[in-house]
Symmetry: C2
Subunit: 174 residues, 2 copies
């Protein structure tokens, strides 16, 4: 289906609450767990979402809406959270994400976007022309993908512990 704001915005609103319900107050054995070297923990993923809120979704939408001479998005740093999250607890990140997401959604709502605006274009540094509608759909899908990743990382901590049930748990080998 195509993105429309009435269907997509509720997902964006929910993500901070979903991650809080899933992660708040859990121990390091869960929030620091990864899928192996060079992969992300729930804590890393949450920092990545916070960084996206600061530098990706709304700033890129603003570039598109301005329709200025330069519509090229600055590249998004997919590793910024390793620096930015330093010294913050998981609950700090949950709070920061909830606040920043609420601000983002207030900004989005204030624009009262029209169909014509959703069709406006910007330039992605890797794959070129994209529309505002595609950017907003990606924001929603990106949230959902990272919730899936978070729970997959956690599930894999029991890959050995489940014994022969592993055969029935495809999540263990994704």
């Amino acid at each position: 289906m195509e993105l429309n704001l009435e269907q997509g915005t509720p997902i964006l609103e929910r993500t901070p609450r979903v991650l809080r319900a899933l992660l708040s107050t859990l121990g390091a054995e869960w929030i620091g767990a990864t899928e192996g070297p060079e992969t992300w923990s729930p804590y890393d993923i949450l920092g990545h979402l916070v960084h996206g809120e600061r530098t990706d979704w709304i700033p890129r939408a603003e570039i598109i809406l301005a329709q200025g001479e330069h519509r090229l998005f600055p590249p998004f740093d997919r590793f910024a959270q390793f620096e930015e999250s330093r010294g913050k607890s998981l609950d700090d990140l949950l709070d920061e994400f909830a606040q920043r997401r609420a601000q983002s959604l207030a900004t989005l709502a204030s624009w009262r976007l029209t169909e014509a605006q959703l069709a406006l274009e910007g330039e992605h540094p890797v794959f070129g022309t994209v529309t505002l509608r595609q950017l907003l759909a990606t924001w929603v899908a990106h949230d959902l993908g990272h919730i899936a990743q978070t729970t997959r990382v956690m599930a894999k901590q029991y890959r050995g512990a489940v014994g022969p049930w592993r055969e029935f748990l495809p999540i263990m080998d994704r």
Copy 2:
């Protein structure tokens, strides 16, 4: 890591709240969405979790703990929800799941399981001998796997809508 109850139980407690935060009051375009024919929607997945609460985890643990002559688990019906959920709203299922899960966890806590009990064995109808510890680890991983599945199904509804970003969203092709 191996299952221990202090680490595993908090995950089991959270799942009803996570699914409520994610799904409650969403429209049919999300809760009825699937990955294609013969695949499950978020609504179907929730019905499956309710059915597991009734017939799988605690009943199988009871079979193991009894250490009776017959330790073979009855097969689990992975399609029961298509009958059992009929006529129920998503919010009905969220309520039922929360209630049944709370009961399951009260039962589990009342057992005050020892290490020796966690090592007791039962017979799985497909792959034979399993321990109570493996059963409980599977319960946790099964929850996490189905949260991942739920968000994957939802993300895929925007597979076309994200345009060229699909390349950066591995969830779309899992």
